[in-house]
Amino acid sequence: MAKTKKSSVIADAGRDGLSAVRYAAYSLSGSAYVFLKPLAGGKVLAEFEPKPGVDARAAAGLPARFRLELEDEKFREKIAAGNSSLREFLLLKAVNYAPKAPEPEPDSGLTPKQEKELNDLIHQIEKEIKAETAGGKKDPLGITRTWEDKYGSNGNKKKR
């Protein structure tokens, strides 16, 4: 069987970023062995050796696929960099998500003193939740707890 021809592309890691070049290369690794070789001036030579079973047409398309992947990866990295804090916030919020309680009635019927006590209690709980989630609690989801740990030894004793 004739060996499929190698192909190559020169990428500008100085301009595009080495991590984008590496990922674009990685994404092709199902179809080819990809060798990255540093060149002068921040350039990188990406060489593609098609894997067995990859047909000639697909092999010939490897450089074009690499360029497209590189463009897409640069875009992904830009999005990721611009959103890391927001994404972290959203996912942390999701992990600790509890459905919002209904809005309280305008007149709570509480005395000013009782309202203050309630507000203090809410602040205290919020503080505790914040402290628990911020530091990476050992088992925040309670994965190691047993049914008895969570509900007591008799469970909820409901009859089916």
């Binding site: 990685y26 179809s31 919020k93 999701a94 309670g142 994965i143 047993t146 049914w147 469970g155």
Partner: protein, 486 residues
């Protein structure tokens, strides 16, 4: 509705876009998805506008993208977090599926056997009734409010005493604890009797069997020395279906189900397989690929196939199922149903193989006949070959907490978290998909594997591509949406 602080519209830079993944589909369309599980399909031109921040504020496209969380300045933070929480609600629920391998003995010699079965006359591979009860007690330690205890083998009916003991014990403990416990039996039916069937029905054990298609195909895949495997399967499927239709006030009777394993012999026979399911009144067919795990790995040259071969089979099968649906026949494809449940409803359908992290330990536990606990049933099959990498503990020696914190548990969770996978973290199908550390280990030698050359990844990508292309067509989309509408 809570919005982010900045109220200005997108400014035309990527920084104004929120985090999302995208995939270029054949035909030029681009699929966008985000962590909340929302998706949008754009034409190539629309994607370029979106990428460059040129989608006109107020346009229908802009409103659609904003509603789905793809416009950073218009994000509904509460709604986004709620959707993320909903689709990941299984994370802290505790393992829901508990597989009790009552025996490794089996009276079948299936060509693809994945369950590490041994011959019917073998000794030392049956679970004792006492140990079976301990396994039930261990399963009941899970904080999951709706656990399922599934009896498997080998052929579990070969160890009837342990099956009976564990069913009775589970029912008694469930009553005492006031807990919902689902019991399920996976059997080839060859040893089913009227007496056993009545016991199972009376104790609300749901029944699942294997059905690989019409008789010649089924019997070729599922070799049974005692006669035709297909005949026994059909006989008892009809029996349990009749019981389901009849229903009695004393107990709930569940509709029986069947599992299909696609071997090389099944390829090209998708219509006959689907027809057989329809003929037997089954409303779901699971076009389930064979995985080169356990014994099947050794037989791969004989019964295995490439992902592309399976995808051709799958597409033809699904196309046929959609045509039957259009003619008013009730039949659904299980892969599609589970994926659509995630894509369209944002809920987790309980398919442990496609979760992130995977179902190993946090979603399921497999109890071997000797009390050893594995992260999943596939991990147990690897254990049978002498490699206990996926062993999480032992029912008699280890605490629940120790099992949950075992190395197998942590390694599987870490390896199957898609954000740690270079390709998956960038993939548009990430919100709906999951990797299998056992598959990766068996086929690529590491728990994390390497997705660009991973057969399972290629297969799942193909399934998702197929579904999204069908969702883009009104006629097929209507049927598919109907499968998961509440």
């Amino acid at each position: 509705m809570a919005r982010t602080a900045t109220k200005k519209s997108a400014k035309g830079t990527a920084a104004a876009l929120p985090h999302f993944n995208f995939r270029r589909l054949s035909g030029g369309a681009v699929l966008l998805t985000n962590d909340s599980g929302m998706h949008a399909s754009l034409s190539g031109a629309q994607f370029r506008q979106f990428r460059d921040g040129r989608v006109a504020a107020g346009s229908a496209l802009y409103k659609d993208l904003a509603a789905k969380g793809f416009v950073r300045d218009m994000m509904d933070i509460e709604g986004y977090a709620a959707a993320c929480a909903k689709k990941n609600s299984f994370l802290g629920a505790g393992p829901g599926l508990h597989i009790l391998v009552l025996t490794l003995r089996c009276n079948h010699k299936c060509v693809y056997c994945q369950s590490s079965a041994v011959g019917q006359a073998s000794r030392g591979t049956d679970m004792s009734p006492a140990l079976a009860r301990k396994c039930v007690d261990f399963a009941l330690k899970s904080t999951n409010p709706g656990i399922t205890i599934e009896f498997q083998g080998g052929e579990p009916l070969l160890n009837w005493e342990a099956l009976k003991a564990s069913v009775l014990h589970a029912r008694r403990r469930a009553r005492e604890l006031g807990r919902e416990v689902r019991l399920a039996l996976v059997s080839n039916f060859s040893l089913m009797t009227e007496e056993k069937a009545r016991f199972l029905l009376a104790n609300e054990v749901s029944i699942c069997t294997s059905l690989d298609g019409p008789a010649d195909l089924h019997d070729k895949n599922r070799v049974f020395a005692g006669g035709g495997s297909h005949a026994a399967t059909v006989k008892w499927l009809k029996y349990f279906s009749a019981a389901y239709k009849k229903q009695v006030p004393e107990f709930r009777t569940f509709k029986p189900s069947a599992l299909l394993t696609v071997s090389r012999y099944s390829l090209g026979r998708e219509k006959q397989i689907v027809d057989e399911y329809v003929r037997l009144g089954l409303e779901d067919v699971f076009l389930r690929p064979l995985a080169p795990i356990g014994y099947a790995k050794q037989l791969w040259d004989k019964v295995g196939y490439e992902p592309a071969d399976f995808l051709s089979f799958y597409r033809a099968g699904l196309d046929y199922i959609l045509k039957l649906n259009a003619r008013g026949v009730t039949i659904r494809e299980r892969n599609a149903v589970m994926m659509l449940e995630k894509i369209l409803n944002g809920t987790d359908p309980g398919y442990l193989d496609m979760r992130c992290p995977c179902g190993a330990v946090i979603g399921q536990l497999a109890y071997n006949h000797n009390g050893d606990i594995y992260a999943c049933d596939e991990g147990r099959m690897v254990g049978w070959q002498g490699d206990d990498l996926f062993k999480a503990g032992n029912v008699e020696r280890d605490s629940y907490s120790k099992v949950m914190l075992s190395q197998a548990s942590r390694a599987c969770a870490a390896a199957s978290s898609l954000d740690t996978q270079p390709q998956c973290s960038r993939c548009a199908y990430k919100p709906f998909c999951g990797v299998c550390p056992v598959y990766n280990y068996e086929t690529q030698g590491s728990l994390s594997g390497e997705m660009p050359s991973n057969g399972r990844c290629g297969l799942f990508m193909g399934l998702f591509d197929t579904l999204f292309s069908l969702l883009a067509k009104p006629a097929s989309a209507k049927i598919l949406k109907g499968w998961v509408s509440k």
